[in-house]
Amino acid sequence: MLVTALDILIAGLIQGGIYALIAVGLNLQYGVARVLNVSHGEFIMLAAFITYSLYSLFGISPLVSLLICGPLMLLIGFLIHRTLFQRLRDTSESIDIFEGNSLLASFGLLFIIQNIALLIWTANIRGYSYLTSPVNLSGAIFPENRLVALLFAVVISLGFYFFLMRTRLGKAIRAAAQEPTTAGLSGVNIKQVLAICFGLGALMAGFAGALISMTREITPLIGLNYTIIAMIVVVLGGLGSITGSLISGFILGLIGSIVTYIDAGLALIAYYVIFIVLLLVKPTGILGK
């Protein structure tokens, strides 16, 4: 019984680490750049496939790919924001209209990225074995790769949190999140900061994708599920609250692993029920104002 509880707890934490990572990314893109990026999951999928290809073709360790995928996604995200979303921002009459338009444009991105991936990697399920030796955590047994993924997810999340809180750029981002106009007036290069935020969201997706590919089988169709989970976590933690997303990621991970223990088919339903009840009862989330 105790071992089962430990099993569920650790599985939940592992899942939660990934959830926290992807939710922080989405939260940055929506909370600051006001883009509800439904193609978020596609960046995760893309990074997962790049990691997979680098490992299976050249034998490059996924942990090294982490350092390739992250910056690559950052660059792609930054460029997409500068070309596509900034233009939409300039042409939209109000922020509400921009939000609607950017959501639809990101649907376009979703279809583009997903189908390019389908053309390159086909719809087959892919996977590879990396660090699979079992580790015994006082009775609960997990493969090494999952624990490594959890460790990296926690380190990256905390690192990012300190970046936001302690650095100048982090301060500029938080300022832009609160009052874009005023932040611009006080010398923050707002266009640059918004693009960086979108890029950082993609960076998180890149890290998450590399970690996911280590622990799970992947197809080009996995993206939307992660987007939805990220969206639920973001709403649970409160739009714009990075701390909220980090905590809620682990909460949802734990709920997921408890429900999965009861019946695996119920996990997604439980997520949606939480999501819908939350939107109705407290749309600002557990840490929202």
Partner: protein
């Protein structure tokens, strides 16, 4: 919106063209090939979903992603009741159930605006899909269901009838106070409320009316497909496609979404079997290009060409 149109010559000409088109469509099974009947059925299916979506989301600017839910409810009505009730009754029940679901969603989402409304409507469609999937795999022990098949010509006529009913409803809504109320809600909900418009009532009822046609379309399409499962019936694409088709066509005129849906469905029919991935890729590219460069859709481009005075008041997002 202008009354002068009713007694102008242009109105007569438009009316005549519409009648001729209708006559051609109604007699299609007599001279067209079997394929053309099937093709037009699926074109009308998308037109119905897109135009219904535009009734509510066009003027109010609330982007609903619940189309798949309303369509799917119709599909499952046919799958469950198709064997025991006559077709007409099944379609009406499908439409009614969608109406009730939309009323329910409408009433509980009153507090939600903008992004929250969008993700809520998407979430509820996915919740229903997953709940049915769970039920089928745990209690029915099969994922899919068989629906009594109806011949293609009957499906075509019923779809055409739904389309005509929908166009009449849309025309009626646009040319009455109800349509004006919807537009003013889209421009400013608070100002509309101050003008004495019962904002809640207008929004919820319009949303529910738009769902009626999607439900009916779902019920009749189920009998065409003969086999359905939750992933087909509640396919999220059914929520995304109408948005794209309406934007591509342009929402300022009644015919915009019709053209948008017709063009896209035709493209889909010729591309999807051989080049499915390229079709979806193209779909994504067109979506982005349309949002960036054609904010008023094809209708906007046509109106620009004509240069008939200042562009009309837009209802698009």
């Amino acid at each position: 919106m202008d009354i002068s149109r009713f007694n102008s010559r242009r109105f007569l000409v438009t009316g005549l063209i519409v009648l001729v088109l209708l006559a051609l469509l109604a007699t299609l099974p007599f001279y067209g090939s079997a394929y053309s009947v099937i093709l037009l059925t699926s074109i009308f299916m998308y037109i119905v979903i897109t135009v219904s979506w535009t009734i509510f989301s066009g003027p109010t600017r609330y982007i609903s992603l619940a189309s798949a839910a309303f369509f799917g409810v119709g599909v499952y009505t046919a799958a469950i009741l198709g064997k025991v009730l006559p077709l007409g009754v099944v379609i009406i029940i499908g439409a009614l159930l969608s109406f009730i679901l939309a009323l329910f969603i409408g009433v509980i989402t009153l507090r939600l605006r903008g992004m929250y409304f969008i993700i809520f409507t998407f979430g509820i469609s996915e919740l229903i899909k997953n709940a049915i999937l769970f039920y089928e795999t745990h209690f029915s022990l099969t994922v899919g269901r068989w629906v009594p098949r109806v011949d293609q010509t009957t499906v075509y006529y019923i779809m055409l009838a739904i389309f005509v009913a929908l166009m009449l409803t849309t025309y009626f809504i646009r040319h009455t106070k109800w349509g004006l109320a919807l537009q003013s809600i889209g421009q400013s909900e608070e100002a509309a409320a101050h003008r004495g418009i019962n904002v809640t009532w207008v929004k919820v009822i319009t949303f529910a009316i738009s769902a009626v046609f999607m439900g009916a379309a779902g019920a009749i399409m189920a009998t065409k497909w003969a086999y359905v499962d939750p992933r087909i019936a509640f396919n999220p694409l059914l929520s995304f496609l109408p948005v794209l088709m309406a934007i591509f066509g342009g929402m300022s005129q009644i015919y915009g979404p019709v053209i948008g849906a017709a063009i896209f469905t035709y493209l889909q029919e010729i591309l999807v079997t051989k080049f499915a991935y390229y079709y979806m890729l193209l779909f994504g590219i067109i979506l982005i290009v349309a949002i960036l460069y054609m904010p008023n859709g094809l209708v906007g481009l046509i109106q620009k060409r004509r240069k008939r005075g200042p562009p009309e008041q837009q209802a698009s997002t």
